[in-house]
């Protein structure tokens, strides 16, 4: 025991050991301070992404400061270190241009907030739910469960379509009908389908519009509004309803089988040849 005490006394007399202990104490204080700061930030009413970024910056700053003080205690000259760091920074800067650009783009994205975590966006043809907005990239999860990483610079430079930011969304169904159909009747049938679809909003009202005269068909469009979360379901329901209604009213869809219902023909001149073809 006395030998151990003598050894410890000899150790303590060495300046280097005392300096090392002081440096270790400074680093421990630095870690304690970062923990306290992080805990304090949790109570702030900030967006989760902003809080994460601020936490990382604060932790880095405190740890760098603690490291500098600890190195000073160990006798290292910070001036030399800073000079070396400056040269390294320039070299790294040239090599890490893209990363720095992504980092700065990420800061702009967090500030501007064109989208948030949990929203669904389309970037450059990729559509998915935003999983995270990180310092260098945005992570999306597509509808078929693929993870896509998009650099922040790409997001900032290109068009971002936010599919879930607004409460309502319009659903457009393009339909082609034969030239011999009465567009007025087609319009009535389509608007009636929309009227009876429960998920369609009453206002803005469903609308019918002409698109173009095609080669062998007329293209028209039915537009309805719904809650954004019902967009897909409304689209499917309308497609089913339109097909059913067209069959009921004898409206022909070009390319499909002729309707079985004996509805009055829009163009009487076309009726005899149609009947003749069916009998053949």
């Amino acid at each position: 025991m006395s030998q151990i005490l003598a050894w410890l006394e000899a150790l303590w007399s060495m300046d280097m050991v005392r300096a090392g202990l002081r440096a270790a104490a400074i680093m421990a204080c630095g870690l304690l301070v970062t923990r306290m700061v992080n805990r304090q930030m949790s109570s702030w009413g900030m967006h989760v992404q902003h809080r994460m970024l601020l936490r990382r910056v604060a932790t880095g700053a405190v740890l760098v400061l603690a490291l500098a003080l600890a190195l000073a205690e160990l006798g290292l000259q910070l001036g030399v270190l800073l000079g070396t760091a400056g040269i390294v920074t320039v070299a790294v800067g040239f090599a890490a241009q893209t990363s720095v650009s992504n980092l700065i783009s990420g800061l702009f994205l967090m500030g501007e907030q064109p989208f948030r975590v949990g929203e669904t966006i389309t970037v450059g043809g990729t559509t998915g739910e935003v999983l995270s907005i990180d310092l260098l990239s945005v992570k999306l999860c597509t509808s078929d469960n693929l993870l896509v990483r998009i650099p922040n610079e790409t997001v900032l430079k290109g068009n971002v379509i936010n599919l879930t930011r607004l409460a309502i969304r319009r659903c457009d169904i393009k339909i082609s009908v034969s030239y011999h159909e009465d567009l007025g009747r087609v319009r009535s049938v389509l608007l009636d389908v929309a009227e009876h679809e429960p998920a369609c909003l009453k206002n803005p009202k469903p609308s019918f519009s002409f698109v173009e005269f095609g080669d062998a068909r007329i293209a028209v469009q039915l537009s309805v509004w719904s809650r954004r979360e019902n967009h897909g379901a409304v689209r499917n329901a309308l497609a089913e309803g339109i097909k059913r209604a067209f069959e009921t009213h004898g409206i022909e869809l070009p390319g499909g089988p002729r309707p079985a219902a004996a509805a009055p023909a829009s163009n009487p001149a076309a009726a005899p040849s149609t009947t003749a073809q069916q009998q053949a």
């Binding site: 409460a167 309502i168 909003l201 009453k202 206002n203």
Partner: protein, 276 residues
């Protein structure tokens, strides 16, 4: 056995309240067009609410206990039966009417113009919701509209506004034109045009979640009266009268407002603000 059928009566039977549904039995409530079926099993409640589509159905029919087993098996194959597991053996069932959880937008039969400095009272009818709770300390199990409710968007543009329910019936200028129905509540809205220009009302948004529900002595259901002051700005003050509705004789409070009434409720109430 309690059986009430008021389909031919001019007064509305109170269908809300506390009922006892014994174990392995059930009950049926027909409230206007809607039908509620409830079946009590050991540690389980089974319920079906069929919202009706006939807006004019006016009767209330209660059958308690009801011969349910055969009906319920048939219904379970085709309808959306809800099953709730409970740990107690309480047979207490509480039915409460509730106002919708979103504002209601009503349109007059034709556009109405209120002259400058004039005022007009209109009456709006809103579909009620049914809240079903069970247990000695009532716990909510179900809350659904008694009629399917269509939604509509009310706002200055498609990106600024809010989702509301569209009233099935137009707002009326005369109270007698509104049918008194067990599944609907009536609101009296006085519009005061305090601007220099006539006000044309093409649609009216009612802040229903801020209104309380009252029952008159004849069983009809009313909300608190509302006063809207139009002052040539987009948001206008809306006052909700804290007292019982003036048209509801012998009114008693049935359900409190879903949201706390704000002292200064400002909102956009009309779809069309001015006319030349």
């Amino acid at each position: 056995m309690q059986q009430v059928d008021t389909s031919m009566s001019s007064e509305i039977t109170q269908w809300w309240g506390t009922y006892e549904v014994e174990l392995d039995s059930g009950g049926q409530w027909c409230i206007g067009p809607a039908r509620l079926l409830v079946y009590r099993l050991a540690h389980e409640w089974r319920m079906v609410l069929e919202p009706g589509h006939d807006p004019g159905a006016s009767g209330v029919a209660i059958e308690l206990p009801a011969e349910l087993p055969a009906q319920l098996d048939h219904l379970m194959a085709h309808a959306q039966v809800r099953c709730f597991g409970v740990s107690d053996d309480s047979t207490q069932l509480v039915l409460e009417p509730q106002l919708p959880d979103q504002p209601v937008v009503a349109t007059p039969e034709r556009k109405v113009e209120i002259p400058a400095q004039g005022e007009l009272t209109v009456y709006v009818s809103s579909t009620l919701w049914l809240r079903v709770s069970v247990g000695r300390t009532p716990r909510k199990l179900l809350e659904l509209p008694l009629q399917p409710m269509a939604e509509t968007w009310f706002g200055r543009s498609t990106h600024e506004g809010e989702l509301c329910y569209a009233s099935r019936t137009p707002c009326r200028l005369h109270l007698d034109d509104l049918a008194v129905l067990p599944h609907r509540a009536i609101t009296s809205v006085r519009v005061q045009n305090q601007s220099r220009l006539p006000l044309v009302i093409s649609e009216l948004k009612l802040p229903v979640p801020y209104l309380a529900l009252y029952a008159a002595s004849n069983g009809s259901l009313w909300t608190q009266d509302v006063v809207v002051e139009h002052e040539e700005r987009e948001l206008m003050p809306v006052q909700i009268r804290q007292s019982a509705p003036q048209h509801a004789e012998g009114a008693t409070l049935v359900a409190s407002a879903r949201r706390q009434t704000l002292e200064n409720l400002m909102m956009r109430a009309f779809g069309s603000l001015f006319s030349e």
